[in-house]
Symmetry: D2
Subunit: 386 residues, 4 copies
């Protein structure tokens, strides 16, 4: 548990970081929602603020005046416990509240939290604040992914920011790390913050396996493409094959073939694909097909966690073969925060690691990210096992 003082600093620094991410945007970029999974940046800014207001200020700050009664309807994401809300697919239809108003809302709530925590604090409040901070950090990652989608699907392909490098080169040699069969302990086991879905430290038996010390690169994936990987049904799941055909998928997201050369949209605009950078923006279906094609497989999340100390990670969220399921003795928290993780534990795959878009202090080796298998607007890649 972090002390209140440094927690408040952590809070203020987190609040500022969300706004820093949006600094390069035009007002118009804050508003649009090109597909249902991508929320408008202004929605993220408002929603993360609403989270602090709804779960901390409203119940705990004496005499707190709600900034705007209508905002709960606008900025609730999926908390049935809290009440009605704008349906997700309508977020991009809302021009108001304006960006300016949302920044005022942010300042108002940030100030409210500051005042509250300077006056009093206790373990329960600190714990809620910590959740709110990590919640906002999760949205920072989404902000970067969503902004990339908003700009990368605009026919003008505007660049986002020269400072955010989404395609760093990795040059270390590929090698296989071997783990012996045996019982391994999985799950969170420190006093530090973690989500409910990481808790319930428990044992798993793993058969002996090998796992690569390196992410699959763009160059390696191009070999798959050149070998007809997107045309060979036998290496895909049935649902993956349908997805490829219905969406006419022939390359990772953001890739464009111009006169026979592969380019991709990056934070710096359209650039030539670099062979040595780790592959990004593939779905689980593509990750699985690549593994099949190469004669290997994806690791399970347990193998990944057991082996992670032996290889560098953190540039790409890595698809695993594991479905997103509760750990033994998983306990859903009471109340609205119980809706955070548990209710999504079906039809999703676990990703492990972290990415270039993950804010500092946000990921850890027990962190379980999860998405539907067809999604690829996150900075998702893969690592092989055998």
């Amino acid at each position: 548990m972090i002390l209140t003082d440094s927690l408040l600093d952590f809070f203020l620094e987190t609040r500022k970081h969300s706004e820093d991410i949006c600094e390069p945007l035009e007002i118009e970029d804050y508003v649009v929602q090109p597909v249902v999974d991508v929320s408008p940046p202004k929605w993220h800014l408002g929603h993360t603020t609403w989270f602090f207001e709804e779960f901390i200020l409203k119940p705990y700050a004496k005499d707190y005046t709600v900034f705007d009664e209508d905002f709960s309807f606008v900025f609730n994401s999926y908390y049935e416990t809290v009440g009605k809300r704008v349906v997700r697919s309508d977020r991009g239809n809302l021009s108001r509240p304006s960006v300016k108003k949302i920044y005022e809302y942010r300042a108002y709530v940030t100030e409210g939290i500051k005042t509250l925590f300077e006056a009093k604090s206790n373990k329960e409040l600190n714990s809620l604040l910590e959740i709110g901070i990590h919640h906002e950090k999760q949205h920072q990652e989404l902000l970067l992914s969503d902004i990339k989608y908003i700009l990368g699907n605009n026919p003008l392909l505007p660049s986002y920011s020269g400072e955010f490098k989404d395609h760093p080169i990795e040059t270390h040699q590929q090698d296989w790390i071997t783990l012996e069969e045996g019982i391994y302990e999985i799950g969170h086991n420190t006093e530090d913050f973690c989500y409910d879905n990481e808790q319930g430290r428990h044992k798993v038996f793993l058969h002996g396996f090998e796992i690569s010390n390196k992410l699959i690169t763009n160059g390696e994936f191009m070999a798959f493409m050149e070998d007809g990987g997107y045309q060979r049904f036998d290496i895909w799941h049935a649902e993956g094959w349908d997805w490829v055909n219905q969406n006419e998928i022939t390359a990772p997201l953001y890739w464009h073939n111009i006169d026979g050369n592969w380019f991709h949209y990056t934070a710096q605009g359209l650039q030539k694909v670099t062979n040595d950078a780790p592959l990004a923006h593939v779905s689980y279906f593509e990750a699985f097909a690549y593994a099949q094609w190469s004669g290997h497989r994806l690791p399970t999340e347990f193998e990944w966690e057991a082996a992670q100390a032996f290889f560098p990670w953190g540039k790409r969220w890595e698809w695993t073969e594991s479905a997103y399921l509760p750990y033994p003795n998983y306990q859903k928290p009471d109340g609205a925060l119980g809706e955070y993780n548990g209710k999504f534990m079906v039809n999703q795959k676990v990703l492990r690691g972290g990415s270039v878009a993950t804010p500092i202090k946000h990921t850890r080796h027990t962190y379980r990210n999860f998405f539907h298998p067809q999604l690829r607007w996150q900075f998702t890649g893969l690592r092989l096992a055998k």
Copy 2:
């Protein structure tokens, strides 16, 4: 045909009016597209500008430099002749070009037109300019309707402008105007501007009929609602009845029942419905059902045109019973402008009149507006015949 000088004034005044309409907006309001029929205001501003650039400046202005090569892709609406374009349903996904950039584009093209027409002019150019002006005027009406939809579907229900009164009261007594059976001449017959679909002045035989001198009012429509008009299948078309049930329609667009009283969203925000104002925002299906319920019918567009001199009109576009079809000897113009009207002559109904949103000098008694029968975001109303 208007002389070039006054035509240029007409042009400049029209260009300014579009921007005046948008003056009360926040930047964010320019961007969104809550349903496919509603285009973002910034798209209208860009598209009307592109029209002048594409059809006048590019072919006729010597040494003209295109403002931005990508804009044709972004701002073409439906001209297959001109090339590929952003699909209509994606207009609200484009945050760029920014509003600021589009205003620069407007100034650039307006200046280009001014320079061109000050240097030379001829009948062909004047005719194209006139079409461009009227095209922009059509979009001014759409701008007002679309802005109303954007704000009126926002849960915060922000007002648009205190100056635009969309619900003027009408107090004259209802009366029936009688026309004898006989041959009437229909269609445009002066030198003034009109669209291709009004041309081909021709004769129609009309049986004797009566037409009301007054639009149906909110108060009258409430009587229909109270009598169960939305629950009685026998007064609806089969497709209208499906539309009512699938969309759970129980009142005109923008109406809200609050504690038993009817309010509606207006340019001034949410207001109590006034009995004496003409009804607005009903679909053809609703207009037809109302007429059936009242024991009357809607006029045909020919009856309307034959009788229009005998009653006031211009506050609501009026649904007619006529389908949108070519007049005898209709000639589709050559080239891209031939796509303006002819290709829509199926599955739409004709509306006659004009509305509070129609810019001055834009409508006339031969003007044929047309929409699909379920649409109601325009300022549409009805007048009875028998």
Copy 3:
């Protein structure tokens, strides 16, 4: 008005004819519904029977015992007045009642009508019986079209019957018939049976026009296809062009290109397309595009009716340019029979003539058939005007 004796003969002969149409079928062919517009043959057999039971036997036959109380739910088509019913798209999901049971139902109701009319008859009953007979005749045409669709979309392409020739040759020379401008009388004006939508004999003014004495042939349509007719957006309605592209339409329904030659599915199975037979199975969109391509237009339904005495017709239902609208002074009949025609008068086009599938005594020169513009499973063709 027909006398009761001959009316009863007409009834019995009509009942038998429906069963004759189904005689070549396997039991399985009676059951399926490959698209929503095509009803299973057993449904037609039951529905036409239910019509007599519901509208004549139930209200007028003393002590009549309903054959099966559940059949009203199964065999009502769209009469909201009469009560709930199986939704149209579910007709092909019903294996029961069995075909055998439906034939028993037919015999039972036929016998009931016979008994009733032998005992008493009057003008009202005769009129209802006449409607029921014509209703069944309409379904005979649908039966033939639906059976063709069921067999013609089966990968085994089984033939239907050697006796039904759906592609008769026409060899007379093409010529233009000229009508002078003037007032013409339109609509039904005899004592014989007609539908409500033909009534209201009235005057229309027609400008002078010419109309072809001959239907467009397969050979002529192939010239359109070879000239890229399906690839030229400028000759299509916008909605037609969308229909072509979304459905990848490249030929009339039932046509197959095998090694460069055009074949089509016919009642005798797959056959080579004959140049000299009138074209069939095109949508209004295709008919319109053909007319545009050839530099002509489709006639209106009024032109067709005014000119029809001067040319042979009856092999193809002919698309007209007219929308399906009520005649002046159209009166919707009271009760359930009022749902027969009036509620469909929106978004449909009028067809005139009749077809190889039309039973004898069923069509006439005032008959108004109507379908949505994209449909083409009926025996639909076209005739040009100018």
Copy 4:
């Protein structure tokens, strides 16, 4: 491995059993496909026959004459390796081949197999025959489920057969079986037949757990319903809650509330729900919500397999918490048979056990059945763990 003689008996008895299942049907019942997951019975009869023809007779029977070249197109289910096929949703649109023809096809292929195996046999052929037999047995279960759906969704609710009892009573006392934590062996380990997805016997570590010796009964599930189980979002997955609301689910499949009492469609027609029979026809979403509501959970498939010897099972397929994933070292077979299981290992849940519809010799304690979480037309139930 079974000897050839008894294998051939097993084959013949299996072939006969499929036809026995269909014996109570009318011809019409063989044809329809009310939803995409339910195939027409005649398709099952043809497809299981095609499997023997395609994988045994064509490659191995010298001088074998294919029954009908078109049948491969009609009866291939999902084997991309083998070629094109009728899309799944179109199976119910095919009236031909007729039922009679399919029975001829069955007799022809059965005879062909008999002749082949009487002449020669070897391990490879026996293995293929065994797969074909088990494949047909799987389809026997589907046949019963699909027939129930076809009849149970018909408004006439015809009964299927008096002999098939789908709701047997279970009267033993509920008790908890306790297993200690430790390493357990999972997967097939005998010479008998099993599918590829059961192979790869391997170790798993299980924490100590308790599992019920009894399936949840109708009576217990009614308590959940009365307690508002279908209205409480907090016990459902987010996707489950959407499913409940979009489909307006308020009870298990086939249940009808008549005047306050619960009835359900059974093989004997509509009957009152019996409290003491095991619940059937619930989705995974419902099974999970029930477990949440009761304060327990569903077992994993590993817990189930480890504990199964200590409780009776076989009346209901039992939903587990496990996602359908490959076992460690899973090897997909080569060729078309490799498409049998592996390509479905995403987005599905594992069911264990067997059901009243499972043919004898078809299930076993290592058998892994799998379905999407929303499906419930199988005889699916649940058992609790804690």
